[in-house]
Every structure is written in C-alpha cells, then in structure tokens.
Symmetry: C2
Subunit: 305 residues, 2 copies
Amino acid sequence: MSLLVVGSVAYDGIETPFGKVDKILGGSATYISLTSSYFTGNVNLVGVVGKDFAEDDISLLESKNVNLKGLQRDYSGNTFFWRGKYHYDLNNRDTLDTQLNVFEHFDPLIPEEYKNAKYVALGNIEPSLQNKVLDQIEDPDYVVMDTMNFWIDGTPDALKRTLKLVDLLVINDSEARELADEPNLFRAAEKVMKMGPETLIIKKGEHGALLFTRGEIFSAPAYPVIDIFDPTGAGDSFMGGMLGWIAYTNDRSSQNLRRAVIFGSVMASFCVEEFGPERLKNLTEKEIYDRYREFRELSQIPEIS
Amino acid sequence: MSLLVVGSVAYDGIETPFGKVDKILGGSATYISLTSSYFTGNVNLVGVVGKDFAEDDISLLESKNVNLKGLQRDYSGNTFFWRGKYHYDLNNRDTLDTQLNVFEHFDPLIPEEYKNAKYVALGNIEPSLQNKVLDQIEDPDYVVMDTMNFWIDGTPDALKRTLKLVDLLVINDSEARELADEPNLFRAAEKVMKMGPETLIIKKGEHGALLFTRGEIFSAPAYPVIDIFDPTGAGDSFMGGMLGWIAYTNDRSSQNLRRAVIFGSVMASFCVEEFGPERLKNLTEKEIYDRYREFRELSQIPEIS
C-alpha cells in the first residue's frame, strides 16, 4: 500500500567519540523513506530542501524508488542544517548549531497523486504542520506520528489536536512520562492512549521498545550492537522499518504489529552502525531477515515441559 | 539438588509512596531462601540473627522447609536492621538508618551437613566473607554471587578474588559498568566475564535482564507490574527464583538458564506487589507457572511466514 512520509530533509554535521563528519544527508523524512523503501515499493516523500541540496542525494532516494514529487526545492536558501556532538556514552548529545534555513517556512503541500495515501508517517515536525498534512489527505487508513519534548513543552494544544487523529504514536520513554505527567511508564502509556492513538510504541533506547495495543503489551528487546558508531537517525529508522512492514503487509493485527516493531528495531540497529544513513544505502533482504531472526532468538523464552 | 544460601537475615523499616512498615522480615538470605524454596525442597540457610528475632519468622522459614541449622542466634544484640524510604519513582531510595548489630561480627560457619552443597548462593555480603564460605564447601558445582557498588568501590581486591571462584554473577547495569570501568553494557559484560564468571546476569530493573553465557545473549523482558508497591527484596527474589529453578532441574544448559532468568523475574515481580516478603509467603505453583507463561507471551516475536 502507498506510504506518505512527511518530515525534515536535512544535512547533519555529526561528531561521535569515533569520528566526525561535516555534512551528511539527514532528516526524519530521509531516514523514514530510506528504511521503509526496503519493504514497500510505494514511498512518497513530502519535504523541502534548499539550493545546496546535492544531486547525489536526490539520486540516492530515487535509487530506492522514493517518489520525490512532493520534495519542494526552495532556491531562496540552504537546506535545514543541524550539527551535534554525542557524548562518550552516546545516550546524550549537545546541539552545536541549528540552521532552519528553508525549513523555517516549510509548507507541506501534498501533491494530488499522494492524497489517497492509506499509510501516513508524520515525522517529528511542528504539530500544526502535521495537522495540516492530515487535512489534505482524503481518507487515510493509518496515521503514525513521532513527536518530541520540544513540542510537548512548547505547543501542547496543537499536539493534542494532532494526537486525536493519530492511530499509532511513537515516542521515547521520557517523552511518554512527560506527555502523561506520570512517572510510571505503564500508567503513562494508558494515559497517552486516552489522548487518541489506539496503539502506542515507547522506545527505550538501549533497552528496546514496548508496544501497547488492544489491551496487550509486547516487550521487544534491543539488539546488542557492541559498536554503536552514530545514533543519528535511529528513531526515524525504527519508524520507517516498522511502517514499511505494515504498509507492505497491509496487516495491523497485534501479531503483525509485533513483527513491525522488530523490523523497526532491525532498521535502527543497522542505522547506528555507520555515520548518518551510510549503512542504509545498500542493505540486502537477507541481511534484514537474518537480523529479524537474531532478534527472535535473542528473546526466545523456552517453554516449560 | 541441595542449595546453600548465605547472606543477611534482617529486619527492615520501609517507607514507600504507598505506605509504611516499621519492622518487617528482610535480608538477602531470607528472600533467596523463601523464593528458591518454591522450586527446590533442599534449601540450607547460613546467617545470623539477634535476640529480637521473632518465633513467627523462624516458623515462616521452617514452613517453607528451609533448613535453619546454619542460622546462628547471637543473644549479645539485635538482628541487623535497615530503614529506608523510596522516592516517588521507586527507582531510588534513601537509607535512613543502618544498625549492623549482630551482623557486624557475622562469621559464616557452614554446618557439616551443608558442606557437600552443590549449589551455592552468595548473597550480597562482604567479599571476604563470601570467600570464607567457599573455603568451607568441599566441591561446589555451581556458585552464584550477588554484589553491589559498595564492595566494588570499597574492597575491589577481595571482590576480584571471589569472582574467580564464581560461576554465575548477578549484578545490575550500573554495577556492571562500574566493575568493568566501561560504559557500553555489552563490552562491560565481556570484561566482567574475563574476571571469572562464565555466566553473567545483568539486571536492568524496569527494563528486564540480560543473560550472557557461552557467547550467547538472552534478553528477558520485565513484567509490566502496574503497581509496584515495595521494591525491597526484588533483586534477591530474582536470585532465589533463578537458582531455585536451576537447583531443582540440575540443568545448566543455555536454554534452561533462560528459563531460570524468567523464574527469577517471576519471583521478583511477585515480591514487589506487597511490603517486604508478604507476597512470597503463600504463592501457589499455579500462580508461578501462569506468570512464567505471561512473560513468555509478553516477549514472543512471531515468525515470518
């Protein structure tokens, strides 16, 4: 089924304890599109880039059959740029520079041919823009959304309006606690789901993820990546892998949502192995399915005879 | 198989956001004995109590068939007493009072009839005492040990000597990082296992536990206890459930160690439902096995057809 992806397309400058890169392709829509493209052939991107956006990066997305009709080109400035530095433990980072550039006036216009999209991925952008996207989609079957503390603090009302329209919300544990104003994660999940989404995924970084749906909980393990090289894009890769699988199978049963969470974890685990989206450029189907099976083995609880 | 349990027997004063109790049975050897007794009929305790130790508490342990021949009674003082207060999120606690009392001069003497013990549980006590216990055991098959930051900081050399004699070490994530002086948990695990234990369990509190054995990793989920009432004894109950299962089955295969980790998690999840060891007094076999199956369901990753 067709998948519409809306979010940022950016350049990132990244420093980790293992190296440094001055300018590399980034942005939530980029990671979601790249990762979901391994599952579904019908990925439609909406975003904006500036005059500095490289032909090579266009080619990369096109090589993955990502439809770029909705990628606006704004020649009045440069592409959104973020620069950050990760600490030794890789769980924390400092933002050193943020240049919104053409992203500051991003107006997500959905091309006619995208308007019948059944699956919609709202990357982490301003909730009022996420809302505006949904206004333009005729009859979406399944809306998945990411958000962050910045919007929970800054624009809580717009966020709550968007949440009412969302089927699946993907956030991390501290965001869930903050959004619900509740320290207990399981109680926080209950409160967040009352705000709209019937399904909730709480990402716990190195501790895996929790899926809450239809009164059921699924606890997904994290992949024991010994060498996390660069965490940039991991959350968006999770969302792309997950939604790519759901759109491909067009199956939102509890069992298949479990599979989707694992495919999300698989894509995130690949993402962090190299700088930026490097590792996501040339994955094979075998690598992806093998890692799914590794996840399965990792958390398999034997029966008691 | 026979299981020898060495550790503290204590009284605790506990305050949580949900209530307060002035004096309740506690201590690592108590929790390990109570929980393991549900699996194996041959639990032998070594510890010390003071003149204030109540007949009811003796009766409780005896009712679970815990052999108390190694429980010393020292009439020169009172039983080890600890008082603490948990914060709102239950992950942190303040120690308000510690009275070592008769535990200060605890000399773990192993009764003759315990000396051929095959399974040995060393609760979290001074490493030199743990060492002294092992010196007295003729030919233990499997030694399991708990420790804490206090000993990692305070008596690192004695701790490292004990570690060389240990088959399975159970610690939490921050302790593993500190012991290995390595922030990456998986790398820390590798370093800790080089210190002696061929099997390592890292407890991650609300995030479950990791089992490292024979080049294999198992990621166990946490039980989504909505209402943690009192976390006291959870870690020791984990150890008791785990080792009780191993001693009962006398099977240390990777697959059975996975089961043991889940039974440990099961007993910890019961423990936190009421104050102190209250919930551990009258569990049924059905409750324990049902919860094992719940854990299994919670983390079941479906196959891909």
